[in-house]
Amino acid sequence: MPHSDNKSTALAIRFEVLYLLNLLLLPGIAFLILAWFYLKYKNHSSSLVRSHLQQTFFTSLIGGALIVLVIALLFVFGGFSSSYIWMWIILYFTLAHSTLVVFGALGLAKAMSSQSWRYPIIGLPLPKDN
């Protein structure tokens, strides 16, 4: 477990909450705030802060792209009037979105425990000092 203080933990929690808000309540707006934090804190001295910031920011980007691109491709190649396309889109969105939310919940639990966390599958490798 990396060394951390209360302020670092609070920042890590804030990033994870913004990640979840982007998925659940304030899509786009919460991501913009997270991006602003990324620019501000990406070189922060605490590895805990850097890891949660990097993970939430890039997972939001990659996860968002995966949701939007796959659904766009399904519409482009399948059209809007096929029942099977709608089935795949709803299933894919529900699975992908809820998986990202569960990952966020686990990330938040890690942040609350002052522990670093790498999002499974699509999370970038953690910085070397973690």
Binding site: M87, L91, V101, V102, A109, K110, M112
Partner: protein
């Protein structure tokens, strides 16, 4: 195990698992009847199989809750159970009532069962999930009262903890709301409305309190995190469960003839119902991350963590999917509801009962804290087999449900009749049946875990 009276939990757990097997067998039979309509007909008609499947679910979960309470309450209250004898007597009465009811469903036509149990004196039969003969319902009330008396007296004479009190409130609520099963008004709107007072206020109300307290207990025991921290989480979770779940009952009132304002109340409050489940996920993982000790019973921790995630997905996400009234207008009573029901019951209630059984059974079998590593590995295999197959059951039913809604309800004049649509989505029923058989295999592996590695030493506390 600190108190010998905790041993009364063991027969409850064994009965729960035996009835669980029955429930899954009838689920597999019914899954086959979806695609081979006359499978086992006329011996086991679909409507009877369905009744047995759902009734067994409720009964075995109640056995699980009672066993859990008999194990947990003395430990929390730091005193022996008020009356182990009463608990044992009630066990046999409840088991006999359950077995007689299931045999009645299977061996006697339902109308005859109603007649010979004198349902006409106090008509309560014939409603989904509450099909039990009136006399059996009265028996359930007697068992519940004796159980609550026993547990209540134990709590009164011992230490009062938040976990015990939350459990007690949940169990009292369970008993009180069951009383609405006896209210059977002629007006079908009122009938359906009060029917939901049993069904919804159980699973989306007071049962969540039982779930929360059992989860908190297992986490305290396996992580060693301060009780105060866990209790604060529990307070907030149960508050959110009640705030959202009570008025959230309104999502069942959309189309039964109640006033239109229920569409707003039901939509808004039930859209908030995922919150307590989401908090449970964060709670469980946070406690495990902050653990002060490594517990040798890894299987119990796995069930507890899995429960929090699967409850959030099944009850939270899949519930939200069709809870807004303008969505539910199309999806009501489709296979999407079945998908939600399967994953929610498994995630929230099956897994928490299996978590507490996993935690308690080694001690009830004379172990110090955990089974042998070999037994735990087999048990963890069963966890993954059952959990993954339940995910697939849910996905296949969801796919079937989306197609069903689209083809049957959203196609305007081109909408297809019910049975034509059922033919078109048959492939998903086959795949669901396959996943159901894997689930059954997982359950067999789970039962096998009680018999393997018994001669081996128990797993050691990790360094």
């Amino acid at each position: 195990m600190k108190y010998t009276s905790q041993m009364v939990a063991k027969p409850y757990f064994i009965a729960a698992i035996a009835l669980f097997v029955g429930q899954i067998l009838f689920g597999v039979i019914m899954g086959m009847q979806y695609v081979v309509g006359d499978f086992l007909f006329p011996e086991i008609p679909f409507n009877v199989a369905r009744m047995v499947h759902t009734n067994l679910l409720i009964v075995w979960l109640l056995f699980g809750f009672m066993g859990a309470a008999y194990y947990m309450v003395p430990d929390e209250a730091e005193t022996e159970l008020h009356s182990p004898l009463l608990a044992k007597v009630m066990f046999w009465i409840f088991l006999a009532a359950g077995v007689v009811t299931i045999l009645g469903y299977l061996l006697v036509p339902y109308a005859t069962l109603a007649e010979i149990t004198m349902n006409d004196l106090l008509p309560t039969m014939g409603r989904e999930f509450l099909e039990q003969p009136t006399i059996i319902k009265i028996g359930i009330v007697v068992v519940a009262l004796a159980f609550l008396f026993n547990i209540g007296m134990t709590i009164l004479k011992g230490r009062k903890t938040v976990i015990n009190l939350v459990l007690m409130i949940g169990l009292v609520g369970l008993a009180v709301f069951f009383l609405f099963a006896f209210y059977n008004p002629d007006n079908i709107v009122l009938d359906k409305m009060f029917w939901w007072f049993v069904v919804h206020l159980w699973v989306e109300g007071v049962w969540e309190l039982i779930l929360g307290s059992l989860l908190a207990y297992v986490l305290i025991k396996t992580t060693g995190v301060d009780r105060e921290v866990i209790e604060k989480w529990l307070y907030v979770i149960i508050a959110m469960a009640l705030i959202t779940g009570l008025i959230g009952t309104g999502h069942h009132f959309f189309w039964i003839g109640t006033p239109g304002y229920w569409q707003w109340w039901g939509s808004i409050f039930s859209a908030l119902e995922p919150i307590p489940f989401f908090m449970m996920t964060i709670f469980a993982f946070n406690m495990v991350n902050k653990r002060r000790r490594q517990h040798p019973n890894k299987a119990a921790v796995l069930w507890a963590l899995g429960c929090s995630v699967m409850a959030f997905l099944g009850a939270g996400v899949w519930g939200f999917m069709h809870t807004l009234s303008f969505v539910n207008y199309y999806t009501h009573g489709s296979q999407i509801t079945a998908a939600h029901g399967h994953m929610a019951f498994y995630g929230a209630y099956v897994m928490i009962v299996l978590a507490i059984i996993s935690y308690a059974m080694p001690m009830l079998n004379g172990r110090k804290a955990a089974n042998s590593m070999k037994a735990q590995i087999v048990e963890m295999w069963s966890f993954w087999l059952m959990t993954i197959s339940m995910v697939f059951i849910t996905l296949f039913l969801t796919a079937a449900g989306i197609l069903q809604v689209y083809l049957q309800r959203m196609n305007g004049d081109a909408s297809l009749p019910f049975m034509v649509v059922q033919d078109k989505i048959e492939i998903f029923y086959w795949m669901r049946e396959g996943a159901g058989i894997i689930f059954l295999i997982g359950l067999i592996v789970y039962i096998a875990s009680f018999f393997v590695g018994r001669d081996q030493p128990e797993a050691e506390m990790p360094k």
